[in-house]
């Protein structure tokens, strides 16, 4: 899987599946404020070949639209003489509905598996390895479809960084905004300081809380190394475990802020990582959902996964497990903020 540092070191280009104007424009605004010479969204699959109007800064631009993903050529940038490494990461941003997620993502994944002349890299005669990964925005993706995507992805020679379903995206400050993460208005993007890189990584099961955690970190004077939301589904393609490994291998990340909820077993994988010594960086975690104990049977909360059907998956049980593994876990959200404020400036 691609590492966060590889995202920073290369040019990142995005193909959007589905035309969602506010989200795509916010990515272009982010690129513009980050000082890029051009926007990262290079194509939009809309079902019809043509162009779609957007702004890059004050300048109007036309982004090519395509009938299908298959009609696209992923071209690498020309490389300086004597260098053969790829210079571009291609990302998909899947803005389609939950029902169309499976087929469209599998189509994206096969780019590497089935060699297609259309995707042959221009230049060195090397095949472009397709997408580096992508984000799935849709809610209501069936569990089985997520598992199928997961299976296809893990059977690839090199698995791709696929975040979601039900994810607001992946953010690498100043480098890549893949989704509505961090906001959709220019004011919000500028004020939320997601242009300037830092050393705090944010990961969250909830899209709203992902942005809230970013806000908490920024308010406390920190800047971010990267941020992502797994999505609140039962089987996120990028698991919290995978995301922790990304943070571990990222030289810029010094601290991880984690938001999880009742339901599911993902946090026990984090406990294992810690116990096996595979994850060593400081973490501040908040697990929401203790309110469920007011009810005789855990209610279903907002996210698909947010229901504790056994003792082990209650918020309290997971808090306790994470604590005893050595993670810093807050007992209330106010305490979480207090912990974040006390992170030493790095």
């Amino acid at each position: 899987m691609i590492q966060i540092q590889d995202i920073r070191n290369k040019i990142n280009k995005i193909i959007a599946l589905g035309n969602h104007e506010p989200i795509i424009q916010s990515i272009l605004d982010f690129d513009y404020f980050s000082g890029k010479k051009q926007g990262s969204v290079v194509g939009i699959v809309t079902g019809r070949a043509g162009y779609s109007k957007y702004f890059f800064g004050r300048q109007e631009i036309l982004i090519p639209t395509h009938a299908t993903l298959q009609g696209l050529t992923l071209k690498d940038e020309p490389n300086p003489k004597g260098r053969s490494d790829l210079k571009v990461n291609y990302w998909f941003l899947n803005l389609l509905s939950g029902r169309r997620t499976l087929s469209s993502v599998l189509e994206g994944l096969t780019l590497k598996e089935v060699p297609n002349p259309a995707y042959t890299r221009v230049g060195e005669g090397q095949t472009l390895s397709g997408f580096a990964g992508g984000v799935i925005f849709a809610e209501n993706v069936p569990e089985l479809h997520s598992l199928q995507i997961l299976k296809s992805n893990s059977s690839l020679l090199e698995s791709k960084l696929i975040v979601g379903p039900a994810s607001v995206g992946l953010l690498v400050p100043g480098v890549l905004k893949l989704g509505p993460i961090g906001g959709i208005t220019p004011t919000q993007i500028l004020e939320s300081k997601i242009i300037q890189p830092g050393s705090v990584a944010v990961m969250s099961a909830s899209g709203g809380m992902c942005n809230e955690l970013m806000n908490v970190a920024i308010q406390a004077g920190h800047r971010l190394s990267f941020a992502l939301s797994f999505g609140g589904d039962r089987f996120p393609i990028l698991s919290p475990r995978d995301a922790f490994l990304l943070a571990q291998s990222d030289p810029e990340t010094k601290t991880v802020l984690y938001y999880g909820e009742l339901g599911g077993e993902d946090e026990y994988e984090l406990v294992k990582l810690k116990q096996e010594g595979k994850f060593t960086k400081p973490v501040i975690a908040h697990i929401a959902g203790t309110v469920a104990s007011l009810f005789p049977e855990s209610p279903q909360f907002g996210h698909a996964k947010a229901k504790a059907d056994k003792e082990r998956t209650t918020a309290l049980a997971k808090r306790t497990a994470l604590k005893s593994a050595g993670f810093k876990v807050s007992n209330s959200f106010a305490e979480f903020i207090e912990f974040v404020t006390k992170i030493r400036s790095l």
Binding site: E143, G169, G179, I184, Q188, G208, T290, V291, F295, H303
Partner: protein, 422 residues
């Protein structure tokens, strides 16, 4: 979007080829029952997805057809509506096993115990678990072929029974997948002549994929139904659950995560029991939808006991793509229509929100709340998310009940299963 229960009748129809059971309502007659079953030794049970029916006396054994209609009427008067009638399968209590299959990230988790039926509640540690992974066509657990595993007694069963179970599981899993079933529990289940005879079945489907009819929420009142109907018409999400109609804290929260964090805070501060409702709107709903959503909640609030102070928490995290100004204009429109009644009900509104068009949205809300005399407090993204909860607690002060029981806590769900001998 989540795992939901389907009725036992539907589950058995789907999973057991020769199943014969009769769904019944309060008006089912003895003749209908007699005509349907060759046997006149029957079991009657509630079929509304609740756990531990036996303990609540909602499973009756060894009934004749003519004994059933009076019980149906009696149960209907308790508010129940869906029942199931089946022939009694005679067996010894010691023949009751437990079997469950749950979809996990890396395969199906199989849980099995010799000690099924009601005993399983007291002996969860006797339940053996293994994850079945599919490799090609063959199911494997912990690297071993399923055959080896079950036949070797690793899940705690004799060889012949292991083979029967294995055959059954191999046959049933494609059916579970095809119907997006994510959880199946058979308790008790009998193993007879290499055949599985499940007596009781609990079954959950993934509502995002399944087309099977799920059991509606039993306690749904009028306002919950209206919001569910509204939710069904929009790609955004609108959720509402009435907990305590006379509660003094009403919430209009946004975001699945932030709403949970705020509800936690109410519980942590010991005022969870004053919480009138739980719910959230998210996914960039239209202002008209937010208006209708707010209107339904306000009319529910105005129906409640007026003898004590009321508060409305309008709060959420820093939104990514839900427009604060747009959604707030929907909320304000609904508040405006009821502002006089809200003032009479001594309601104050406490706001915390961030996100797209935050400044304009907050300003608009502040102006409205000041002018209408409903302002409790108003904050943007720079104020900690859960601070409004303390402000609400201070405002309500001695009007907080703290000890009142929300309706759900009194409900029948979540007790233990005791139907021993069916």
């Amino acid at each position: 979007m989540a795992r939901l229960k389907i009725s036992e009748y539907h589950a058995k129809k789907l999973l057991l080829p020769s199943y014969r059971g009769l769904t019944a309502t309060s008006v089912t007659t003895a003749k209908e029952i007699k005509d349907f079953f060759p046997s006149d030794n029957l079991v009657l049970k509630l079929d509304q997805g609740i756990k531990k029916r036996g303990q609540q006396g909602l499973v009756k054994l060894n009934l004749t057809p003519s004994q059933i209609p009076p019980i149906l009427k009696q149960w209907s008067r308790l508010g129940w509506s869906n029942f199931l009638i089946e022939p009694v399968v005679e067996h010894a209590a010691s023949a009751e096993h437990y079997l469950a299959l749950e979809r996990m990230r890396d395969g199906w988790q199989l849980s099995y115990s010799d000690h099924g039926g009601v005993e399983v509640e007291n002996s969860w540690d006797l339940v053996k678990r293994t994850v079945l992974r599919s490799k090609g066509q063959a199911l494997r657990s912990e690297g071993q072929a399923l055959t080896g595993d079950m036949a070797n007694g690793q899940v705690g069963m004799p060889k012949a029974e292991g083979l029967a179970l294995q055959a059954y599981i191999l046959q049933i899993i494609p059916l579970l997948d095809a119907n997006h079933i994510s959880f199946l529990e058979m308790n008790p289940v009998l193993l007879r002549a290499h055949q599985l005879i499940p007596l009781d079945i609990a079954c959950e489907v993934d509502s995002a994929g399944s087309s099977l009819a799920t059991i509606p929420d039993r306690n749904q009142g009028a306002s919950e139904k209206s919001i569910a109907a509204l939710d069904a018409t929009t790609p955004a999400s609108l959720k509402f659950k009435l907990l305590n109609p006379n509660g003094s804290i009403w919430v209009l929260l946004s975001g699945g995560g932030a709403s949970l964090v705020l509800a936690d805070e109410l519980a942590d501060q010991g005022i969870g029991k004053d919480l009138a409702n739980y719910g959230e709107y998210s996914g960039a709903p239209k202002d008209d939808d937010v208006y209708s959503y707010t209107k339904i909640i306000l009319s529910q609030l105005l129906k409640s006991n007026v003898s004590h102070l009321k508060s409305i928490i309008v709060a959420g995290g820093v939104a990514n793509f839900t427009d604060v100004k747009k959604t707030f204009s929907g909320i304000i429109r609904a508040l405006d229509e009821k502002q006089q009644e809200l003032r009479l009900a001594k309601a104050k509104i406490f706001v915390r929100r961030g996100g797209p068009n935050e400044a304009a949205g907050l300003q608009m809300m502040k102006d409205f709340l000041k002018q209408s005399g409903l302002l409790g407090s108003i904050h943007g993204h720079e104020t900690p998310l859960t601070q409004v909860v303390s402000e609400v607690r201070d405002y309500l002060g001695s009007d907080l009940k703290g000890s009142a029981q929300p309706r759900d806590i009194l409900s029948a769900e979540g007790q233990t299963l005791k139907d021993k001998s069916i």
